[in-house]
């Protein structure tokens, strides 16, 4: 939140105070490459997915290099160790497995002699109570259009964290520097409105699939710190650093086990604009 505040202020200040932006040449060193692991376990029909890559020099045309030939496995607390198959370079999957709720999962990635592990807790699903659409008037660089807010009933007396993913007409909404993650710190036990954080707006007749994920604390910490180093938010931070990963041995990335609920909304014209 405080990052958004900075953005507002800097935008206003620089917006009419004669500022300018230009692309410059700046030499950055390249450090030793680190491994990047993105692992998700969802409580649904889709396979468990692990994507592995490596860091690359900052200025260079390759994004990051996929890592092939790693050994990836997963184990639920009290369960068997199961191995993933590499379906394409850097992408490892485990299909036809049901994820159990209220369970700790541990992921093991073994590559070039080092094993990277991470644990995540798969929470109970928190159902969506309602999704409402509101019209946003637009402001400055932010377009006007429709935004979606989802309401859920937060389970009381436990720490809950949520992430919202939206797919508009089949495509994932994924803007630089914006994550829709929430914590129940200030609202424990109430019906919470998860107000859309990202600046994306929808148009009439868009079909939006909303997925509200119940994530664990480690994933919430990862995504919040990721938000602060991507996009505009990075200017606000005095000392950017790598997001807090739940992997050990210096791997970048995260492992998130979550359950989710989904709702589809077709945007239709509101009879009266909401304020």
């Amino acid at each position: 939140m405080s990052n958004k505040l900075i953005i507002f202020l800097c935008f206003i200040a620089s917006g009419f105070l004669y500022s300018c932006e230009k692309v410059i040449d700046y030499d950055l060193n390249t450090s030793q490459s680190a491994i990047v692991i993105e692992a998700t376990v969802a409580d649904g029909n889709e396979p468990f997915k692990v994507m592995i890559s490596k860091t690359a020099p900052y200025f260079g045309s390759s994004q990051s290099t996929e890592v092939s030939g790693a050994t990836v496995s997963i184990k639920a607390d009290g369960g068997k160790q199961r191995y993933f198959t590499e379906v394409s370079p850097g992408l490892y999957q485990l299909s036809k497995v049901l994820a159990a709720k209220r369970t700790w999962y541990t992921i093991y990635v073994e590559y070039e002699g080092i094993t990277y592990t991470a644990r995540s807790y798969l929470n109970d699903m928190v159902p969506i109570v309602d999704c409402t659409v509101s019209y946003f008037d637009g402001f400055g660089i932010l377009d006007s259009g429709y935004k979606i807010n989802c309401f859920i009933k937060d389970p009381p007396n436990i720490e809950n964290y949520y992430q919202i993913k939206m797919y508009v007409n089949g495509k994932l909404v994924n803007n630089e520097g914006e994550m829709d993650v929430y914590s129940d710190k200030l609202f424990d036990g109430k019906v919470i409105g998860l107000v859309q954080n990202s600046s994306n707006v929808f148009k009439e007749s868009d079909t939006v699939l909303i997925e509200v994920q119940a994530i664990d604390k480690a994933a919430y910490n990862y995504f919040s710190t990721l938000e602060s180093i991507s996009g505009l938010d990075i200017i606000a931070s005095a000392s950017p650093s790598n997001p807090i990963s739940n992997f050990d041995n210096g791997a970048l990335g995260y492992f998130s086990a979550y359950s989710y609920d989904q709702r589809t909304v077709v945007i239709s014209r509101l009879l009266s604009k909401q304020n």
Binding site: S2, L9, S33, P57, Y58, S237
Partner: protein, 765 residues
């Protein structure tokens, strides 16, 4: 120390008498501080304090005293000393035509003879013609043009002194601490230069009567108000205007001054294309009020207050306001010719509020509030000694965050319990002329800090998880920290144009500013020391050589310092500083050190005046949990820092001024690689502060045209250009995927101010 004091009291041979009194400005009755009263052979000398009070002890006899202060006509007075006397003096300001820029308010070789090293004095006359951003005269921006004091960048009011952090400067307005000194994100400071009499910055030897901040003290004094006649001063500029009105309540007995300043930046918003911006409000104001009464010949009462606020609101979107209020009541009394007392009661409050939805439904805020009682004595036993002692007692209360939700809102009102603490100290110091050449200042301050209830106090385990919360009731003393702070300074006068000075300070700092952003923002959080946060400790050694040339026409100095900092604070990766009652768990602790050399060369008289300042310095930090425990440069580590300020009197009506600044860039953290995660390209960071911002340099030009200058009326126009050769100095640099080819990345630099001309009009009647 007591033995030395007693040893100096000459109890035999010639009878000594003491003269004392107050020195004022003849034109308006303002007290003058720093005035040198000396006998012609310089055997006996006194300096007036910040209330204009002096005390001089002399053997019986006849003397010619000279009373001098830069900017005023020197006065000579024959006095016959046969008894203790009360003698007040008033000095006439120097004839305007002869007046040069005042770079310090003291006599020719004050920089040689004074015990203080590393201290800077600024008066509003000095800043009058120096061009600054938008034509706004600003005492804090001008001060940053002197060596050892670094600006924190465009868009910031805070400053760094000798490698210390932004929170290590104690900023006092008539003795009240000011926690946030910036308006509008720091583009302007809260100090209205029309209301200010003078300011002293102590960065080398810090006298024992000051404490609580590790690196410096900026002691700003407001004008008292013209004792003789009514006067109106004003300045109309492009972005803001100020006006002040002062005068006697009863001539020569009491006076008042009221000053106000407001910006009209919101008028420019009307031209924005977006309706929301047109409806937005954006303004700040400052109000200074002061009154004083001479109750009798030895007692004076001062009451002053300050109120300032910034407001920023976009209806239905967002609202943000912040500001300070201070009030001080002070009573001066001379118990005898040798004993002067000042009692103060001070209140200071800083708060901010954020309206998350722009319609007052939910307001988040934070406050820090101080109540302070001070008692200071100055005792002048004889001409060789000047003793000061006193006590100071501050009750701090910080509300780290509270949420006020309107009834019916989905949010609920919450408050993080306030933290309360007492900061108290006592001090004793003496400034002693040991031999004709050697002067020594020695002092001891005992500074203590206690957390008190009611409140919650937290204990954490080594990974920062909360293990215990203990609630204490009212008045329970929870934890006390602090200790003795020796302060030492020496001045060895080699000749009347050269001297060697040295100083040593040991200082505790008990409250800390948590700020994790590049700009100083109003939402930065002040926290007290506690079980989990130890006080910062600074030790500073400095040594300097001062030399004047051509009968004090040129002053020069070189000072070298080394500062050691303990218990420095930084943040864990991903620290959550906002509205977090257990914010202490987000902090990590380490140490710092800084050293450097400061060169200053000044010309004080003549048609061309000004100075050249250069600082070569280094400041490092080392934290076990940051940068793998390897030392790294602090953000404010700028190797070279140069300022050149010049004023040239073209004629009696035209003054040309120029400022050129150059500094190498701040240390910053940039990525050493990149990768894709969650569909985004982000940087891979392996080093803290491993890179540098590009060099910064800028030329400002100004021209002052004095239209009228009579005894009754003055008016002048000032034209200035900020960044005259329009250099695009980097405000920040960020890295992002290219728009046309997201697989590739680029570096982007944003700069704030290019070429900015401005005009302002100043009047006085």
């Amino acid at each position: 120390m007591l033995v030395l004091l007693l040893g100096c009291l000459e109890a035999f041979s010639q009878q000594k008498f003491t003269i004392s009194g107050t020195i004022t400005d003849a034109s308006n009755g303002e007290n003058l501080s720093g005035v040198i009263i000396a006998t012609n052979n310089h055997n006996y000398l006194a300096i007036s304090n910040s209330y204009g009070f002096y005390s001089l002890s002399l053997p019986a006899g006849d003397y010619t005293l000279s009373i001098a202060l830069m900017g005023f006509e020197k006065r000579e007075q024959v006095v016959k000393i046969h008894e203790n006397q009360l003698i007040d003096f008033s000095l006439k300001p120097r004839n305007f035509e002869l007046e040069a820029v005042e770079v310090n308010g003291n006599k020719g070789n004050e920089n040689i003879t004074s015990i203080e090293s590393g201290n800077v004095r600024i008066s509003p006359k000095q800043i009058e013609n120096i061009p600054v951003l938008f034509g706004e005269k600003d005492i804090m921006k001008t001060m940053q043009l002197l060596p050892g004091i670094k600006q924190s960048g465009e868009g910031n009011t805070g400053f760094y002194v000798r490698g210390g952090g932004i929170d290590q400067n104690l900023i006092l307005l008539d003795e009240a601490p000011v926690y946030n000194t910036g308006h509008l994100l720091g583009f302007f400071s809260v100090f209205n230069s029309e209301a200010i009499r003078d300011a002293n910055l102590f960065k080398g030897s810090i006298p024992a009567e000051f404490g609580g901040r590790a690196s410096s003290v900026l002691d700003i004094r407001m004008k008292e108000g013209n004792m003789k006649e009514y006067q109106t001063n004003g300045n109309i500029g492009l972005i803001s205007s100020n006006v002040s009105f002062e005068g006697p309540i009863k001539e020569d007995v009491s006076s008042f001054i009221v000053s106000g300043r407001r910006t009209y930046a919101d008028l420019f918003l009307q031209f924005a294309p977006d309706k929301d911006i047109r409806d937005a409000s954006l303004y700040f104001y400052d109000l200074n009020l002061k009154t004083n009464f001479k109750l009798n010949s030895t007692t004076r009462l001062f009451v002053s207050g300050y109120l300032g606020r910034d407001k920023f609101r976009i209806p239905d979107q967002f609202g943000f306001d912040w500001g300070s209020k201070t009030a001080t009541v002070r009573l001066n009394h001379s118990f005898s010719k040798k004993l002067f007392s000042n009692s103060s009661f001070i209140y200071s409050n800083y708060s901010y509020h954020i309206d998350l939805s722009g319609d007052n439904e939910v307001i988040m805020g934070s406050t820090i509030q101080d109540f302070n009682l001070k008692q200071d004595f100055s005792y002048y036993p004889n001409t060789k000694n000047s003793v000061k002692f006193g006590i100071n007692f501050i009750a701090h209360e910080t509300v780290p965050g509270d949420i006020q939700a309107a009834p019916g809102s989905i949010y609920k009102s919450l408050e993080v319990r306030p933290r309360r603490a007492l900061e108290y100290s006592l001090y004793l110091s003496n400034s002693q002329q040991i031999t004709r050449r050697l002067q020594a200042y020695y002092g001891l301050r005992l500074a203590l800090f206690t957390n008190v209830g009611p409140g919650d106090f937290y204990q954490f385990d080594s990974s920062g998880n909360l293990t215990q919360t203990v609630s204490y009731n009212s008045f329970k003393w929870v934890k006390t920290q602090g200790g003795p702070e020796p302060r030492l300074a020496l001045n060895y006068v080699i000749s009347d144009r050269a001297s060697l000075k040295a100083s040593y300070n040991h200082i505790y700092q008990f409250i800390h500013l948590l700020s994790n952003s590049t700009s100083s923002t109003p939402t930065d959080l002040w926290i007290p020391s506690s079980d989990n946060v130890k006080p910062q400790i600074a030790d500073q050694w400095s040594i300097g050589y001062f030399h004047n040339f051509k009968q004090n026409l040129y002053e020069s100095s070189v000072e070298v310092y080394y500062k050691n900092l303990q218990n420095q604070i930084d943040y864990k990766n991903g620290a959550d500083l906002v509205f977090n009652s257990t914010v202490e768990a987000e902090l990590v602790f380490g140490r710092g050190w800084a050293y450097g050399a400061e060169y200053l060369f000044r010309k004080n008289y003549g048609r061309l005046t000004g100075w050249l300042g250069y600082t070569l310095s280094k400041t490092m930090r080392q934290f076990d949990s940051i940068n793998d425990g390897k030392p790294y440069p602090a953000r404010q580590d700028r190797r070279h820092d140069l300022s050149l300020v010049a004023q040239y009197k073209l004629s009696n009506k035209l003054i040309l001024s120029a400022t050129w600044v150059y500094n190498t860039g701040n240390a910053v953290t940039f990525p050493n690689g990149k990768y894709v995660i969650a569909g985004r390209t982000v940087g891979y960071y392996t080093q803290r502060n491993g890179y540098r911002m590009p060099d910064y340099h800028r030329l400002d030009l100004g021209l002052t045209w004095i239209r009228r200058h009579t005894a009754k009326v003055e008016s002048s126009w000032n034209f200035s250009i900020y960044n005259a050769y329009a250099r695009e100095n980097a405000y920040f640099i960020s890295f992002r995927p290219k728009e046309d080819n997201p697989n590739e990345t680029e570096a982007v630099q944003v700069s704030l101010f290019k070429f900015i001309p401005s005009i302002s009009y100043k009047f006085k009647f």
